[in-house]
């Protein structure tokens, strides 16, 4: 939201990236006129929103992508002599995906959903009628959004709210949708507790969370940066963190600074609870540091000012992960994906 919308598009923005980080991808604005001719207008719009971070967290990106794909499917007509199951993915879907990836590296949830979608399409019998196949895909996308996004959010907030007790002091970092829902849910249950919001001064999304919680009648202590983190964490009962993804080795991919908060809390003996939808789990990739899978902040990508968007929290700092299906340790990624 706070990113200026009219920033000039440089030709070689990657040339300023310091050597040590030159392997890490970065979101890029592609003028709509330069996009591939087959890219659907709905997807074009989503790509622009991702490149400008108007859509930034994994679930909103996933949802926007699925809704755009819905439009792509609706407007799709199988050419004569072809079937949807053979033609749609290579000739229609893939250019959309390529374009989206160019705008910003795909998040893990998008990768999972696209894999599931392709699997669904492959399962169609070659003789399935065009309309029938399209109808099936649209239904399936609605089901996915409902089940893995909407219901997941509801279930996680319910499950996590049960972990909050009367009189707790809870600490969180930045603003994560699931953490916010959980706190509001617990408040609705009539529990009284306090929240410490630690913010990232380069994002300041925690400030919005602080205001929302305050308006719900929850006492909030707001700290604009990681200064004085040790004593603040030590005073907390639980730390609630939201995640962008969880890797096969159980480590958490989350906004930069999350690992610092989790580490500090774990070292102070405070429980660290991570909230994450299963659609964000990646069972194929393993990441043990923050320089393997990450993204460079496109606004801070030079030696004058450099920033990575995410960091990697080792599962030893995570007490538990709450998903819509089950709650477990960070190193035992949910079975149900």
């Amino acid at each position: 939201g706070r990113r200026p919308s009219g920033a000039p598009i440089e030709k070689d923005v990657r040339s300023t990236i310091p050597d040590a980080f030159s392997h890490i991808p970065m979101a890029k604005r592609i003028p709509t006129s330069q996009a591939h001719k087959d890219v659907h207008p709905a997807v074009l719009a989503v790509g622009q929103q991702m490149a400008t971070f108007a859509l930034s967290d994994s679930i909103s990106r996933l949802q926007a992508t699925l809704l755009a794909f819905r439009k792509v499917i609706e407007s799709y007509e199988t050419p004569k002599g072809n079937s949807l199951s053979r033609h749609f993915v290579p000739h229609v879907l893939n250019p959309q995906i390529e374009y989206l990836t160019e705008c910003r590296p795909m998040c893990f949830a998008m990768g999972n959903a696209i894999r599931l979608l392709k699997g669904k399409i492959n399962k169609f019998d070659i003789n399935t009628g065009d309309e029938e196949a399209k109808e099936g895909l649209l239904e399936w996308i609605d089901f996915l959004i409902n089940e893995r996004i909407n219901l997941a959010e509801y279930a996680i907030a319910r499950n996590a709210a049960l972990l909050i007790n009367e009189g707790d002091t809870l600490l969180t970092y930045g603003r994560h949708r699931l953490v916010e829902k959980t706190f509001l849910e617990a408040k609705k249950d009539g529990k009284s507790f306090e929240v410490t919001v630690i913010d990232d001064p380069f994002e300041r999304s925690g400030q919005d969370l602080a205001k929302v919680l305050r308006q719900a009648g929850i006492p909030v202590l707001y700290s604009p940066n990681l200064g004085g983190l040790r004593p603040k964490v030590a005073a907390a009962t639980n730390v609630f963190l939201g995640g962008e993804a969880i890797f096969a080795n159980g480590s958490l991919h989350a906004p930069s600074g999350t690992a610092d908060v989790a580490m500090s809390a774990a070292n102070a003996g405070v429980k660290v609870i991570v909230l994450c939808e299963t659609i964000n789990f990646d069972r194929d990739r393993v990441s043990v540091d923050s320089l393997t899978y990450n993204e460079i902040d496109p606004e801070r990508n030079s030696a004058e000012s450099f920033r990575l968007l995410f960091d990697n929290t080792h599962d030893k700092y995570i007490t538990g992960v709450v998903t819509e299906f089950e709650s477990g340790g960070g190193n035992s990624p949910a079975q149900a994906i």
Partner: protein, 425 residues
Amino acid sequence: MAPSQASHVPTLDGLIKSFNNQSLEASIESLIFLLKRRQVKGDECAKATAYILRQVVAKAKWNDVDQLLSRIASAGSRLARAAPLEPVIGNVVRRVLGLIRDEASEDRNADDIASEAASDIQTLTPATNPSVQPPQRPALPHRPTLSALSSGLQVSKSMFNLLSVAEPGDSPMTGASTPMSQAQPASIHSLRSEVMDGIEEILDEINQADDQIAGFAEIQIHPGDYVLAYQPSRTVERFLVKAASKRRFTVVIAGLEASGAGTEAPYASLRKRLNSAGVKTVNLASNGLMAYIPRVNKVIFSAKAVYQNGGLLVDSGSCIAAQAAHEYLKPVIALCPVYKFCPEDPSDEVSRGELGNPSDYVSYANGPAVGALDVENTVTDYIPPDLVDVYLTNLGPQTQHHLANILADHYKTEDTGFSLQLGEP
């Protein structure tokens, strides 16, 4: 936090010059004013305190050692109270108090070495040769021993501290220094000039400390290193620039605040100097540091104070840098000149951190929504000793276990208790 009207902040040099042209009281008041506004900070506090105390020695009325000690303690505690989170002020005051005791005892030793002092030696330290001989190094600072800790009275009776003998119940500042209280003007005069020379030496030490620490740079920094410098202070800057003259490495500068558009990139001059020496720099605009530590070889920052237990008072955020480095077993090097060593344990206030102005982060124009929030902008951190690998002082690198020696070499046990209450005027 830089004051918004930077042009109204006098430079330290300007301030010190002004001391000469105004009365002692006016000088003290003007420094107190600046300390309270946090416009004199860190090592500037140490220098300014030393200059003020020199003025006290030169200008205040005192007729004997006790009076001088009490003048220094009273002026010192006023300064210390103005900036409770600048322990260097108290350190300099202690150093000056110790210096006065040394000079006074030296004078006295010269006078009475054959009489009273010698008998003290005989009674208190039977193991030493009782024959009358002048102490080999009278100026050697007093080291507390085991017996010293168990019996304060004996300590203060020891030969070097005759002038500060404290009877139980006495004010800690005054002592029964009978001979000196009726001292002749000549010896007062010489004491005055000796103490002023001594303060000059302390000032030299403060001024040279950064260069001396920088002298150890090439030992600590190796070719190809990625060095994370957290909010590089002048001490750290000098260290890095010195290292850059010998080594090719990369400096990752962390601890930047979000700066508004159009402002100059932070640490521009440091980066320019390092770059021109062939050292690469990266300004991290990041809150969290765990992401970068795997790439980094060591973490360097400077301490605002080092406590007796080895804990550090540092700029806010340094603690997360130290913790993150510790997690990845990367060395944490704290640059800390000896004058920042504080013979006290950290207070609760210190371990919680000093709170700063939150308005840089929250707009109060935002009305009730923000008004109802408790905003805590912590500006200092406390780092426990187990997170620090090297204490790099101007006397060389030290570990936590040898800090007691440094404290013993620089402060007198009588003065370690110097604190805000003791000096109430």
